[in-house]
């Protein structure tokens, strides 16, 4: 094979550059942010401003090229279709909210201005990750994203929790990355390609893949389940959510989960849910079991938590379980993919909003907000209390919020796909989940405040982020037709 076959030297066409522009904006924006962040006194302000402008620019560029025809670069490695571009749009929007949310929080927690640059690097990695269908490219995108997040998690340098959380996340994340890499190497050795589309074709024609493929697939699936935080692989999640500064937790919980889950869905669709291969049935059962276990474990452990961030961390494990249910039904029902994307999108807003309200009441280097500390807080700060109520109801899936639309779509497509036992588990456990979400609301509005009531920290960024998330949650909950039709349009 000639070297020119691998790297055909050709210049990019205008159309291709148009699709790559958001990536350029984010990465160059990150470098500019790093430079202006070194300013002695106003580093934080300048860094925020520059990163805001560049993320906004990226948003604009993605929207501009949204409905252009499909483009694939590097021989099908990077695919830009309206679907992947919409996912990039969502991810970039989460990065924008994450940036706004960090403003104010950065000085309070003593975070460095590099925070804003790292958010942009992570967003660039996420865009690559949702656009690719090449296993190794996915690994590289995963690492671009994760390396930035590792630093973000341990960025509260004076805090012991943060150092510990960063270490735990790094070690387990490094382990998962290495497993993903070795797994994709084994898959390559067994079936002779890294491209998911090519691998799918091979699997469809060969109903008896070699054992090496199954081992490799097992490693890849474990690594991805770790990244999305499903039940037996969840050990890092509560600690990292608690130890990281709350703005980072919000960004992580929304954007990393979104990206990792979509990448996992992409892999599962091509490598696991192929009915002609008998040995893949085991993997389907494995995911079935993990979905049920995550729902039960996450919801029941969350009941016992008295600290808000930790409670939301366990509830996120339960939400991973619901999403895995959606993944299970993707093969049998055409709507399941759409409801999966919608669920992730809606959940991300609730997550961003809830953590931004929490960050408004945390003192410097505080580990977590205890539930006693928020007793009576909703009466004192009615607007923020109302926002928090909206986010929690959305996570619980109560009507009039977007969480209901997401959950309804997910469960109904799962019923259509014949996943009745799992749907029963999901419905029962989400009834359980209503208890601990409502408990917070009861504390907010109906309890007498104690002496250690949390003090409101005056910050404009988180307030704005909470406002935007609340508006989005209510808007998509009350008038969901537009977004559902939009997602239907781009998936067809």
């Amino acid at each position: 094979m000639e070297i020119t076959d691998i790297f055909p030297l050709q210049s990019l066409s205008t159309e291709e550059i148009l699709n790559l522009l958001p990536l350029f904006s984010l990465s160059f924006g990150a470098i500019f942010t790093l430079i202006v962040g070194t300013h002695k006194t106003k580093g934080h302000g300048y860094a925020f401003l520059i990163s805001f402008v560049f993320i906004f620019l990226a948003l604009f560029q993605i929207t501009y090229a949204l409905f252009n025809s499909d483009i694939s670069l590097l021989g099908g490695t990077l695919n830009f279709s309206p679907f992947t571009k919409t996912l990039s749009l969502m991810v970039t929007f989460f990065a924008l909210i994450g940036t706004v949310l960090s403003y104010g929080q950065d000085k309070k927690e003593g975070l460095l201005p590099e925070l804003y640059a790292l958010i942009q690097f992570a967003a660039a990695g996420m865009i690559l990750m949702v656009s690719t269908s090449h296993l190794l490219f996915m690994f590289i995108a995963l690492e671009i994203m994760s390396l930035a997040i590792y630093v973000l998690v341990s960025m509260r340098r004076g805090s012991r929790f943060s150092a510990e959380a960063g270490l735990k996340y790094f070690i387990l994340g490094g382990l998962a990355s290495a497993m993903f890499l070795y797994g994709s190497s084994l898959v390559f050795g067994a079936l002779g390609s890294f491209q998911l589309t090519a691998l799918e074709d091979v699997l469809r024609s060969n109903s008896n893949p070699p054992i090496i493929f199954l081992i490799g697939l097992g490693l890849i699936v474990s690594a991805m389940l770790f990244k999305v935080g499903a039940f037996p692989f969840h050990g890092w999640l509560p600690d990292v959510y608690q130890g990281a500064s709350t703005n980072v937790t919000a960004f992580m919980g929304a954007a990393v989960k979104f990206t990792a889950f979509l990448a996992f869905a992409r892999i599962a669709q091509s490598l696991i849910f192929i009915d002609t291969v008998e040995s893949l049935k085991w993997f389907q059962w494995f995911i079935w079991f993990i979905a049920a276990a995550s729902m039960i474990y996450g919801n029941f452990v969350a009941i016992a938590q008295n600290e808000l961030k930790r409670m939301l961390a366990y509830s996120t494990i339960a939400h991973t379980g619901y999403l895995l249910l959606g993944l299970q039904s993707m093969n049998y029902s055409t709507d399941a993919g759409q409801s999966l994307v919608l669920y992730l999108f809606f959940y991300a807003f609730a997550n961003l909003g809830a953590f931004s309200v929490i960050s408004l009441f945390e003192e410097k280097n505080q580990k977590d907000l205890h539930i006693e500390q928020i007793a009576g807080l909703g009466v004192k700060h009615p607007v923020l209390g109302f926002f928090m109520t909206v986010f929690l109801l959305s996570m619980a899936g109560i009507p009039l919020t977007s969480g209901f639309i997401g959950k309804y779509g997910l469960f109904s497509s799962a019923v259509a796909a014949g996943q009745i036992p799992l749907v029963i588990v999901a419905v029962l456990t989400s009834v359980v989940s209503v208890y601990y979400y409502l408990r917070v609301i009861v504390y907010l509005f109906m309890k007498e405040s104690t002496s250690d009531l949390a003090i409101y920290q005056r910050m404009s960024g988180p307030v704005l982020a909470a406002f935007v998330s609340a508006v989005a949650t209510l808007q998509f909950g009350l008038f969901p037709r537009a977004i559902i039709n939009f997602v239907k349009l781009i998936t067809n």
Binding site: M1, I6, L136, F139, I140, E143, L147, Y150, V151, S154, R157, G158, S159, R160, F161, A163, E164, A165, G166, L167, K168, F170, I171, G174, L175, S177, A178, M179, L181, Y182, S185, L186, F188, G189, G192, F194, P238, D239, Q242, G243, Q305, E307, R310, K367
Partner: protein, 100 residues
């Protein structure tokens, strides 16, 4: 048993060793080395596979992975320095403030 099989066995052995180091050792520097070992085992197996199947794709990817491994160890070491400043030790059992 041919050479390709032997190289794959070696890669698998190195990978398992790295995994055991990460899960059993309590010293953070050793854990970092274990992660590096796992990544390099994957590199070795990828090179061997692409040599066996006459596809250069895997070998090219190894360069990217080496770069990423370097970035990862840089970040790992800086997290380690952060840990040392906060806890005065780089052993994992010293950092146990988060529980529940």
């Amino acid at each position: 048993m041919n050479n390709e099989m032997l190289i794959q066995l070696l890669a698998a052995f190195l990978f398992v060793m790295g995994m055991l180091i990460v899960s059993l050792r309590r010293d953070t520097i050793m854990i970092l080395m274990g992660i590096e070992l796992m990544l390099n085992a994957a590199n070795l197996s990828m090179v061997a596979f692409s040599k066996a199947s006459h596809m250069i794709e895997g070998q090219v990817q190894v360069f990217f992975i080496i770069t990423i491994a370097a970035a990862e160890s840089a970040i790992g070491l800086s997290i380690l320095v952060n840990l040392y400043r906060n806890f005065g030790s780089v052993k994992t059992q010293s950092a146990t403030t988060l529980k529940g």
